[in-house]
Symmetry: C2
Subunit: 307 residues, 2 copies
């Protein structure tokens, strides 16, 4: 299954991290923005093109070093169809460069609507006799508030196409507790979501024992992370919250199993914005991103050995 592909890439790079591609405008170095506005004007097209050049530069710098990228749909959607066109190109470029691509879309809807989302992000679309891939990521994030109706259609595509999903279980943000930490009987809500995720993934275990239905579990609640790791032994974890949000390497070690497998740690700002700390106005964004990715990898490797 698809998490085998990811785990193999992690082992090859000896690096259990994913670079978020969340291109807020202020993350894009000024010289790239300027060049694009000169060429396309101060338009959505200009802003989208700036994002694409920045993404490609980052991926060139991180290729071979970081095994996966995670574009965050919101930063493309906010530029309308121009942004979505650039997201399609970004995913295509990432796959050419050998990255495992996690589309961070957090979609959640039911039945045939969930199927439509899955068609677009993981599967393909029939038009007349043609069968056309669209965004075609390796993996997507899913919101399960509506229950298994929102998750199941994605899993069918995962099985058919060797892909995977991450369901939001316990997120890294402060207000995640408002819903996710409610105690229902003998289980907290996020554990109910975790159990549901593992149950729906049943019979899709790959060679490392993980199902196609992974879970998003934040680094900012390390004891929850440890509990969930023990509870969901067949569930691969995507872990946001390292770095800027306060999660440390010591915290995220709880996400891994005893073989150092089953988790990937995200950094977005830490890598994308590394250039803002060197005082060189972004001309060195590639070297800065590389250095930040190496520092993050080495930080985590103090606590985790990947077998």
């Amino acid at each position: 299954m698809s998490f085998d592909v990811l785990q193999d890439k992690i082992r090859a790079a000896k690096n259990p991290t994913v670079a978020g591609l969340d291109p807020k405008p202020e993350y894009v170095p000024p010289h790239i923005r300027r060049a694009c506005y000169d060429q396309y004007g101060e338009t959505l097209e200009g802003a989208a093109e700036a994002i694409f050049r920045f993404n490609c530069g980052l991926m060139d710098a991180l290729s071979g070093l970081v095994p996966a990228v995670k574009p965050q749909s919101a930063y493309y959607e906010r530029l309308g169809w121009r942004g979505m066109e650039v997201l399609e190109r970004t995913i295509r470029y990432a796959k050419e460069k050998g990255f495992y691509v996690i589309a961070d879309v957090k979609r959640g809807d039911i039945g045939s609507t969930a199927q439509a989302y899955s068609d677009g992000w993981l599967g393909s679309v029939k038009v007349g006799e043609a069968d056309l891939p669209v965004f075609d990521a390796d993996c997507a994030t899913v919101n399960g508030y509506m229950g298994s109706d929102a998750i199941q259609p994605f899993l069918e595509d995962c099985k058919a196409r060797n892909k995977s999903i991450f369901v939001l279980v316990k997120t890294s943000n402060p207000s995640s507790r408002e819903l996710q930490d409610l105690v229902a009987g003998d289980r907290v809500v996020y554990k109910v979501m975790g159990d549901l995720t593992q149950r729906l993934g049943k019979d899709t275990e790959g060679k490392y024992g993980f199902t196609a239905a992974g879970a998003v579990v934040g680094a900012t609640y390390p004891s929850d992370l440890r509990d969930l790791r023990r509870r969901l032994e067949h569930t691969f974890f995507l872990v946001p919250g390292y770095g800027t949000q306060g999660g440390t390497a010591e915290d995220v070690r709880f996400a891994f199993d005893k073989y150092g497998r089953g988790a990937i740690i995200n950094s977005s700002r830490g890598i994308m914005c590394a250039w803002q700390k060197t005082g060189r106005d972004g001309q060195d964004f590639q070297e800065a991103a590389q250095a930040a990715a190496i520092a993050m990898r080495d930080d985590i490797k103090q606590y985790v050995t990947i077998l």
Copy 2:
């Protein structure tokens, strides 16, 4: 506030319903699909163009009769950027025709990412000195599993721009019970979500007493609908599940307050696919949609008088 705008449109049309624009390929009459494939080939562009023509035909037929439309993002996203371009055009056309536009996107993310979604769907985007609207709907649906961090940024844009949102509270699908019906202390999870929604909307009440933070509450659980109506007197309801999913006019009457206000009932398939029941191969899709919309309106008006 923005729900005043919607309630005024409902009162003017004497019709508390919204037409879902969920254009699955098989919903589009064959003659429209054929014309577009002939012109653009069996491509994503051809499929997107077919959707646009169908949407425009429906809106021409429903204008003045139905006060609002609700495009479901999944059916546009599955066609990639071509679909998103058509979604932009659909929203623009709908506003020109006087419809209140609810973008059914069910987005849910935190902080600056929620802000990015809100920029795109409700607000505008700064590019250099320019300030550009993007999808620019009147209202969007939001998933609050991540807590108030996922809702608050949208509400700020609602206040600034006289817009509104609907937060998923109790959805109409069978598996909604898996998470939403868990009992946490003295409250069911969906009531916690409802209370949170009403609390976050505080101080945005308009002339009819409703805040800018509405709630999605399905027609398929009428007793929950009645409880929530009593509990959340300042919350406008978007009610899916009427018709094909089994909700009846008798069920949905519980969504309204004593003045017959505070709710809008959705129908997607019932209106879009009405042509499939007339045996005329879709040539009459406009008349069929009109007749279905009138029948739905009159069905609900048996139980609800809008003051």
